[in-house]
C-alpha cells in the first residue's frame, strides 16, 4: 500500500477521532453523573455546527480568527441551551421513571431538527475551504486544520483531566459518578452539579459541531449518525470515563477510516462488532466502572 495514502488516512482517522472525542466525552460525563442517556446529544452537536457556520460564513467571513470566535459562540450557545434544558425540562423528571428521560431527549431531537430547518432552511450548507486549510511541504500537503483539531481535542482532554483531578468541583462530580448518595451526604450540592454537568456536556457537543462543520456539511439531522457512533465510543471506552472516551474515539476513528481502505463492507460493521465484543467480555468497557441504574 502507498505510504502517502496511509499518512493521509491517518490524519483523517485522527481528525474523526477528535470530533468523536469531543462529543463522546460530554455524552459519557452526562451518563456517568446523571444516568441519563442523552439521545439529543447529536442534535446539540448539530446546533453547534450551525452556530459556527453562522458566525463564520454569514457574519464575520472566512478566516481562522472568526473560526475561533465561531467555536466560542457554539460553546456558549449550546452550553446555555443545555443548562436551560436541564433546569426547565429534565429537573422535574429526577427520581421518576427513566422512560420519561428517554422520551424527552428523543422529543428534543425532533424539536431541534425542525427548528434548525426553520432558521437555516432544509438544504445542506456547504462550507468553503478555509485559507491555509492545508499547506504544501515538498510534495506533501500538510492538513493544518486537522493538526489544529487534533491539538484542540488533546487540549480539551487535558483540561478535562485537570478539572476532574485538581479542582474541588471536578472532584465533587467524580464523587457523584461513584455514589450520589454519599456525595450528597458529604454536603455536595447535587442539584447545581447536575446543571453544570449537563451544560458542560452540551458545550462539548457544541464545540464538536463547530470543529466538524468545515468538513462535514451542516444539515438538519446530521446528529443522528454520529450520536450512535458516540454510544459505541463510550461503551468501548467505558461509560463515565474521559480516558475511555479518548481511547474509544481513537479505536472507532481508526477502524472506520482504515476499513474503508482495506475491507469496505466492514466500514461501519466492524465498529459495532467491537462494541458488542467489549460488552460481552467486559461490559464496563476498557476504563469504565460498573453502572447500575438508580431507582
Amino acid at each position: 500500500m502507498d505510504i502517502n495514502l496511509i499518512v493521509v488516512q491517518t490524519f483523517n482517522a485522527l481528525f474523526y477521532a477528535s470530533i468523536l472525542f469531543l462529543i463522546s466525552s460530554g455524552l459519557s460525563l452526562i451518563y456517568g453523573i446523571m444516568r441519563i442517556l442523552n439521545l439529543s446529544h447529536g442534535a446539540l452537536y448539530m446546533v453547534g455546527a450551525y452556530v459556527t457556520y453562522t458566525v463564520v460564513i454569514l457574519w464575520l467571513g472566512l478566516d481562522w480568527f472568526s473560526m475561533v470566535l465561531g467555536y466560542v459562540a457554539s460553546i456558549l450557545v449550546v452550553g446555555a441551551l443545555g443548562i436551560l434544558v436541564e433546569r426547565i425540562l429534565l429537573k422535574p423528571l429526577y427520581g421518576k421513571s427513566h422512560d420519561l428521560q428517554l422520551l424527552l431527549t428523543f422529543a428534543l431531537i425532533l424539536i431541534l431538527d425542525d427548528m434548525v430547518k426553520m432558521i437555516w432552511g432544509p438544504e445542506y450548507r456547504a462550507f468553503p475551504r478555509l485559507p491555509g486549510f492545508s499547506i504544501p511541504v515538498g510534495e506533501f500537503q500538510v492538513p493544518i486544520y486537522f493538526v489544529f483539531t487534533l491539538l484542540l481535542g488533546f487540549s480539551v482532554a487535558i483540561v478535562l483531566h485537570l478539572f476532574f483531578t485538581r479542582t474541588t468541583v471536578g472532584k465533587m462530580i467524580r464523587a457523584m459518578t461513584y455514589s450520589p448518595e454519599v456525595a450528597s451526604a458529604l454536603g455536595v450540592n447535587t442539584d447545581r452539579l447536575f446543571a453544570l454537568s449537563f451544560g458542560l456536556g452540551a458545550a462539548l457537543a457544541g464545540l464538536a459541531g463547530g470543529v466538524a462543520v468545515p468538513l462535514y456539511t451542516a444539515s438538519p439531522g446530521m446528529g443522528t449518525e454520529i450520536i450512535v457512533l458516540s454510544f459505541a465510543v463510550i461503551v468501548i471506552g467505558g461509560m463515565g470515563s474521559i480516558k475511555g472516551a479518548l481511547v474509544g474515539s481513537l479505536i472507532v476513528g481508526f477502524s472506520r477510516v482504515f476499513m474503508v481502505m482495506l475491507f469496505p463492507v466492514m466500514e461501519i460493521a466492524l465498529i459495532y462488532i467491537i462494541m458488542a465484543l467489549i460488552l460481552l467480555v467486559k461490559p464496563t468497557g476498557l476504563f469504565g466502572m460498573e453502572m447500575r441504574e438508580r431507582r
Binding site: K96, A107, L108, V235, M266, E267, A269, A276
Partner: protein, 305 residues
C-alpha cells in the same frame, strides 16, 4: 378498573378500526394501516419491555428481518409468497436467537447497548450488501396481492389476532413468569423459574411480533429502504410504547395508533410536523407520565368513584 375492562377496550378499539375506512380517504387508509402495524410492533416490544423489564434499543432489526426477508424472497429470489414468509420467519428466528442468546447475558443499560450494537451491525450490513438488499436504495417492486382497501382488512385481521393473543399470553403462566422475572429475578429463580430461558422466550416472541409487522409493511409501500433498520426506528418503537403506556397490552397498542394520529395531523398542518410531534411528546412526558392509557384509567376510576 375491572380486570377484563382491558379486553373490552381492545375489542371496542378494533371495532372502531374496522369501520374507520368507511369514513376515510385512500391516503388515510394507508396511514391507518401503518398505525395498525406500529400498534402491533409496540405490543410486541412491550412484551419484552413492559412485561419482562428488558429495554431493547434494537427492535428495528426484527421489523427489518421480516420486511427484508419477505422482500428478498419475493423480488430477489422469485419465491412464492408462502416460501418468502417462511424465509422471513427463518431469518427472524436466526437473528433473534443469536442476538438474544448473547444480549441476555446482561440486563439494564448493557442489554440496551448490546441490542443497539447488533441492530446497527445489521443496518451496516444492509447498507453494504447491495446485491442482496439494494443498499441505500432498498428494494422496489414488492408485489401487493390486493388493493389497499382489502389489504387494510387483511392487516387488521392479523393485528387483531396477535394483539388479543398478547393479551392472553400475559395472563398465562408464561406471561406471569415474564412479570415475575421483571419484578424480582432472584425471587423468580428461587421459586424455580429458569430466568434466562424466560427472558429468551420473551425476547423471541417479541421479535416475531416485530417481524410480522415488518412483513406486512413491505407490500403496503411496495418498497423498503434501510431507514427501517436504523437506530431512530428502534427509538420510535420505544417512544410510541411509552406514550401509550407500558403497563398494559392495550396501552402499547394505543401508543402506536396515537403516534401515527399525531403524525397525520401535524403533517397536514405544517411542513414542520416533527416540531409539533416533538412538542406533543414533551408535553406528554409531564401530563401523562404513565402513558395515555394511564390517563384513561385514571379518568375511568374517577367516574366510577
Amino acid at each position: 378498573m375491572r380486570r377484563d375492562a382491558e379486553l373490552y377496550s381492545l375489542i371496542l378499539l378494533l371495532g372502531v378500526l374496522a369501520v374507520a375506512p368507511l369514513f376515510s380517504t385512500q391516503y388515510t387508509v394507508r396511514l391507518l394501516t401503518v398505525g395498525l402495524l406500529y400498534g402491533l410492533a409496540a405490543v410486541g416490544f412491550n412484551l419484552l419491555y413492559g412485561y419482562t423489564g428488558l429495554l431493547s434499543f434494537g427492535h428495528a432489526m426484527f421489523w427489518s428481518a421480516g420486511a427484508y426477508g419477505l422482500s428478498i424472497g419475493l423480488v430477489r429470489l422469485g419465491l412464492d409468497p408462502l416460501q418468502s414468509i417462511g424465509l422471513a420467519f427463518l431469518l427472524t428466528l436466526v437473528v433473534a436467537l443469536a442476538t438474544g442468546y448473547l444480549s441476555l447475558r446482561h440486563t439494564e443499560i448493557y442489554f440496551a447497548m448490546l441490542t443497539l450494537a447488533f441492530a446497527q451491525l445489521i443496518y451496516a450490513l444492509i447498507i453494504k450488501l447491495r446485491d442482496i438488499t439494494g443498499g441505500d436504495e432498498g428494494i422496489y417492486g414488492i408485489p401487493r396481492p390486493m388493493g389497499l382497501g382489502e389489504y387494510y382488512y387483511l392487516v387488521l385481521a392479523i393485528v387483531a389476532l396477535l394483539v388479543l393473543l398478547a393479551w392472553w399470553i400475559v395472563r398465562t403462566p408464561l406471561g406471569l413468569g415474564f412479570q415475575a422475572v421483571r419484578d424480582n429475578s432472584s425471587r423468580a429463580a428461587s421459586v424455580g423459574l429458569d430466568v434466562s430461558r424466560v427472558r429468551l422466550v420473551s425476547y423471541v416472541i417479541s421479535a416475531l411480533y416485530l417481524s410480522v409487522a415488518g412483513m406486512l409493511y413491505a407490500p403496503l409501500n411496495r418498497a423498503i429502504t434501510p431507514d427501517i433498520a436504523f437506530w431512530t426506528f428502534s427509538a420510535i418503537i420505544v417512544i410510541m410504547t411509552i406514550i401509550g403506556g407500558v403497563r398494559r397490552v392495550a396501552g402499547a397498542f394505543i401508543g402506536g395508533l396515537i403516534f401515527i394520529f399525531i403524525n397525520i395531523n401535524a403533517m397536514r398542518f405544517t411542513e414542520f410536523w416533527q416540531l409539533i410531534l416533538g412538542v406533543i411528546l414533551a408535553i406528554l412526558v409531564y401530563l401523562a407520565p404513565e402513558g395515555v392509557s394511564g390517563i384513561v384509567e385514571k379518568v375511568v376510576r374517577r367516574v366510577k368513584g
